[in-house]
Amino acid sequence: MTRSTHVVERALWWAPGMAIVVVLAAAPLLFTDFYLSAVLTKALWLGVAAVSLTFLAGYVGMVSLGQVALYGIAGFTMANLVTADGGSAIAWNPWLGTLAGILVCTGAGLLFGAIASRSYGIYFLMITLAFGVIVYLFFAQVTQLSGFGGVNNVDRPDIVSNPVSDPANLFYIALGTAAAVYVLLRYLGRTPFGLALQGVRDDPSRMRALGFNVPLLRMLAFGLGALVAALAGILSVWWNTRISPGSIDLPRTLDVLIIAVIGGLYRLEGAWVGAIVFTVLDNWTRGIDIVGGRFNTVIGVVFLAIVLLSPGGLMGIWQSITDFVGRRLAGTGPSPPEAERAHPS
């Protein structure tokens, strides 16, 4: 009996998952160019940014508000190194610039991680928020690197093509990146390193007693989160073809937090679920008179409702539905694996 419950519940996770994969693979044929670029591609890279937060929050218990600043560091580094209007415009090869952006961002992540790794919970949240705003102010003030106008017409590798007139290429690049990040993080959760991180999340002092170097583990996790955020930063610059301090200010930081929380902080898939809800709502509210185009008020209210009603986000709601349906179909009684799956595996 419990076995069939398990099968039904698994099917309820796999079936929509497969459907989404099929739809995404054929997306350039199914959607208009505008929708593909403005909603789907954007959701994919926003999801990559959000999953760096979901990973840190769900696996290591570090709720960071510095992820957008980190992706900004990657984006600004790249934008300054390749041919562009504004910034230092050194005219490197775009791929080299991309690599440099990712490396600098990961380095910055390790540095921030080293400083903040001894702080926990709400302190960690505040310290990373302070980092985030400082990075924003840095790029807003330093005219040599950006200034308020930002860096425009950033050179892209040829394969990215023009994101406006020919959005399919960038869509597939973003899709591939998102899939790779998802698989990597899922896999990592099962390695000894990932298990140690989850141990740190659940009980840092016990892990220290077992001989683990807790601050080092947290620092490395933060560096890894920065690496993922860097990929999102690169994609965002390719998608926007520009980056400015306005791309990494506090509202943008909160957008990524909102996405991660709406999707659900305890499941990696939640990041993209939240991102698609976010971008669809964003597009949809622009055309609705009744809310006066006040997208931020709408998303703020949705966010508030999710936080108050479902701490697990939309994935948490889906989890409850599958548990309920699974029980109904397979008879009564709660299914044993439920307790285990409360934590990400």
Binding site: A116, V133, L304
Partner: protein, 356 residues
């Protein structure tokens, strides 16, 4: 064997020093060197041009006063309830806009000149001040009663709730007040500036006034916490919430009052800052950041820590803009980051912070 019995008795400071692990010692020596360098550099600059030094120092002190007023409310709420009020900056901003629109109504529109002569009477400044502070205090109270009270103890969830509220407030401010930075007019009863009888400096009076208000607020909060029954309950609540409520004290009433006072202080800061600097739609981010930095440096929940943190931030802010070598002044925000790093490297919970 006692230490004194050895023939080569180390002096006390050396024994203490050798008890420190080498890595920590290295960090401390490094920080000592950095501080020494800063002191020498500032001292050299001060000797070079004492007039600028005094003016910039006063700028730093008065900024610190403003930061303290705002951050003391933030730290009061956190110390008692463990609530990180991410909407604190939004309350600051809201108070500025409330006061500005009320002042415009009272003076019939155009009394709000940036640095020119003020045409606002004393009442045209004080009435908006009181109304804005009370209004913002009330909003804070409603926020706490409607959303936060039921989630006591869930720190992250409460922080997320206040973030949601801050997003809504920011968008509504933009919709209702627009995005142009403006100034509140100081009352015309205040002199424009005061002469300091020192290097012929004539310094804006209102900035001095803000510093005085900050000192008064600090003393009042200190007296309230140390001398009154309410303060006694607050202190007990900081140490052990459950025990206090088990003693039959209505802790919810104390929480509500503390939130009201905390939000009121954000409002007071908003009106003072709106007069001293500007009322601007970006203020929520800026002053949330300043409040965070002040309490991260000083230690969450500590009033003395807030004062020290505000002082450090204000002085670094003011001197960084002026004393960095020419061409590098727009890197001054990195100094704030360095300040944060210095403190966190030695004390992860801030200078006066204690584990929760």
């Amino acid at each position: 064997m006692s230490r004194g019995a050895t023939t080569t008795a180390k002096p006390a400071w050396l024994t203490r020093l050798s008890a420190v692990p080498p890595r920590k010692l290295a960090v401390r020596v490094l920080i000592g060197l950095v501080l020494a360098f800063v002191a020498v550099y500032v001292g050299y600059k001060a000797a070079d041009d004492p007039r600028t030094f005094v003016v910039v120092g006063l700028n730093g002190l008065t900024l610190a006063g403003l930061y303290f007023v705002v951050a003391s409310g933030f730290t009061l709420i956190f110390g008692l309830m463990r609530v990180v009020n991410m909407a604190h900056g939004s309350l600051y901003m809201l108070a500025g806009f409330f006061a500005l629109s009320l002042q415009k109504k009272l003076t019939g529109g155009e009394a709000t000149s940036a640095f020119g002569t003020s045409e606002a009477g004393l009442g045209d400044w004080i009435i908006p001040l009181v109304v804005a502070c009370l209004g913002v205090g009330l909003i804070g109270l409603v926020m706490q009663q409607a959303f936060l009270r039921w989630n006591q103890g869930q720190e992250l969830r409460q922080a997320l709730i206040t973030i949601a509220i801050s997003i809504i407030i920011a968008d509504q401010v933009l919709a209702n007040f627009g995005g142009v930075a403006e100034n509140l007019a100081a009352p015309d009863a205040f002199p424009e500036s005061v002469s300091l009888r020192l290097y012929d400096i004539s310094y804006p009076f209102f900035r001095i006034f803000v510093l005085l208000v900050a000192i008064a607020v600090g003393l009042a909060l200190w007296a309230m916490i140390k001398r009154t029954r309410f303060g006694m309950i607050v202190r007990a609540g900081v140490d052990d919430r459950q025990m206090v409520s088990a003693l039959g004290i209505n802790i919810q009433l104390v929480f509500a009052s503390a939130f009201l006072i905390g939000a009121f202080l954000a409002g007071l800061g908003g009106v003072l800052g709106g007069t001293m600097i500007s009322v601007n739609k970006g203020n929520d981010t800026t002053y949330l950041l300043f409040s965070l930095i002040v309490v991260i440096i000083g230690g969450m929940g500590s009033l003395a820590g807030a004062a020290i943190g505000a002082l450090a931030l204000g002085l670094v802010d003011a001197f960084g803009d002026v004393y960095l070598p020419a061409g590098y002044t727009n890197y001054s925000v990195l100094l704030i980051f360095a300040l944060l790093v210095l403190v966190l490297a030695v004390r992860p919970l801030g200078l006066f912070g204690r584990p929760a």
